[in-house]
Point group: C2
Chain length 353, copies 2
């Protein structure tokens, strides 16, 4: 398996797509990429499992990171890739092997960028968080992810998606008093009282704050509810699990304080949380990037690996040629023109002092 990094970006995307790399099974693709990168004298290359880190070492005053994951969701009878009109179809075309192809074209074709570049290729993004290759690198070799700015090549239709919303799950518990249901008035029904929690959720007006120039949209929702002792017992406990998606003007502590305020009368226990990340597009290298690639930046509402960079103190955005709405579908495709457009814009940015 020989990849040709001099082929155009669409051809290179098709070649990469045709090497299956479902999460955990990235070895073949990783090795094919590694062998090409090691031929490039202007890059220092290190491999960790199914992750690759390739860096220019030009002593530039600024360093940027371009990161993409190699894995895909399971195949759905949608390989090998095929072209239909101006689209390239196949598993991973949008999410995100077209982005990986752009990374490789830049790695090979821009030997002397105006800013030093770290190219990161990682595994297991599509499965449980603890196996995520970028997370592993951030714990074991944070030095390799250091930089002034990072671009995740996730599908965004060649528009900047800035920052990401945080997420917190909490259990809101209401207690009552058991009784036999034939004499229900001797007890206090915790499920009935949980109606007041659902009232709060139904009345809740989510914030839509603007942060660093981008508009976010929060959400507070019950994602589970459970209660009940037996068919003839007034229940003394009901638990509502809520999921709070919070904009990046709030950190985890502020999100928890908000939940405790909203659910004041009840017991609130945080189950898990992942931080938000500010877009930061209005200053520093992120602003230079936004100016160079243009378009209409928008807020990222879901949680993404951008937050891992934010935790390392590296501002980051999503920017890639794919289409996020059709990711993970059988009919996944990428618009061929977007791949070249994405490559051209990033090349312009990397080569402009």
């Amino acid at each position: 398996m020989e990849l040709d990094l001099s082929a155009d970006a669409a051809q290179l995307t098709a070649a990469i797509v045709d090497v299956p790399s479902v999460s955990g099974d990235e070895d073949q693709l990783c090795t094919a990429i590694e062998s090409q990168l090691r031929r490039l004298d202007h890059l220092s290359v290190e491999r960790f499992g199914h992750c690759l880190v390739a860096r220019t070492e030009l002593g530039r005053p600024e360093r940027v990171v371009l990161a993409g994951h190699l894995d895909t969701v399971p195949l759905a009878g949608n390989l090998p890739s095929h072209v239909d009109g101006d689209r390239l179809y196949g598993c991973g075309t949008s999410d995100m092997k077209s982005g990986v192809a752009v990374q490789l074209r830049l790695a090979a074709g821009v030997p002397e960028p105006a800013r030093d570049v770290t190219y990161v290729f990682y595994d297991c993004e599509e499965i449980e968080a603890e196996r995520n290759g970028l997370g592993r690198l951030s714990r074991t070799r944070p030095d390799l992810l250091a930089g002034d700015f990072a671009v995740l090549m996730e599908p965004s239709g060649c528009e900047i998606e800035g920052g990401c919303q945080g997420t917190m799950r909490a259990e809101v518990t209401v207690t009552g008093q058991r009784a036999h249901s034939a004499r229900s008035w001797m007890g206090r029904n915790a499920i009935h009282e949980a109606g007041a929690i659902l009232d709060v959720l139904r009345r809740y007006q989510p914030r839509e704050p603007e942060v660093d120039g981008l508009r976010y949209h929060e959400g507070l929702n019950a994602v589970a509810i459970s209660g009940g002792v037996a068919g003839n017992v007034i229940p003394d406990r009901c638990v509502v699990t809520v999921n709070y998606r919070f904009a990046p003007d709030r950190d985890i502590a502020a999100a928890e304080a908000h939940l405790r305020e909203v659910f004041g009368p009840w017991d609130v226990a945080v189950v898990d949380a992942a931080p938000s990340a500010r877009p930061g597009l209005d200053q520093g290298p992120a602003a230079s990037f936004a100016a160079a690639v243009g378009g209409s930046p928008r807020a990222k509402l879901g949680w993404t690996d951008v937050a891992r960079f934010a935790e390392l103190g590296v501002p980051a955005v999503n920017y890639g040629p794919g289409i996020s709405e059709i990711a993970h579908t059988r009919d996944e495709y990428v618009e061929i023109a977007k791949i070249g457009q994405c490559e051209a814009r990033l090349r312009h940015w990397l080569t402009t002092p």
Copy 2:
């Protein structure tokens, strides 16, 4: 193990209590009772497993049934029985071996009652309904339970408890539309919408109708609730299980119609139901019984085996010396005076034409 049916009712109660008979383990007590009953020439005795049916066959125009269960809840270190002041303590003293002792005293001591009597002793009343000995007899030998009136010797403090409320469980389901919780407004949260079901339950005003002169008290309660797909998914389904306890002026069909009316907007599926039973104390042999034993009849709110007789077309009441509120507790006792009082009143009724 020899029972002395000529001992006074309190001594006989103690002797019966001291033969442990936790549900499923009634053999020894059943055999001890059987051997005494078979010595009584005025009774025809049949045994079915751990059930006994003993009948007078005097050709009287009216037949009544006196029924009691032999089993108890599990022991709680409260055997052997002991007397403290005017109370007899021990497992089953109230529920309902004092009632069984009264049955046996009457079976032995009233050889020529004014109305024919069927004495029923049965097993497994304290556990799951399908093992209930009275239920089994009603399916296999309903002829043996036939009669104009029945008295269940359940603890009622020597007051008539008439009829019983029915019970129905139903699942009320609300549906929504899934979405990723980062974009919750793309979906419709079924758990939030279940808040409207809980609103209905919280606003619900239970009826307290008078039926055949007794005051009942209904109840409509959530006894379980469940919903949720995953921590990051807007749930598309929430199920509230409700328990409706309905007065005996409603049958199962009327109860179901009521639930469908109350929960009109949602899907309602009946899970199980047990019928109510009217007290019927204002007419026929039940009225004669009430007149003979006196006191202040009250409504039975819980479901009892009275309803099994009602299903066979036999009016029935609870009437026994025990105290229902302390049944199933470690400190269960019976007031010794009540045992003799109960026996005397029933003897008066059985011997009065």
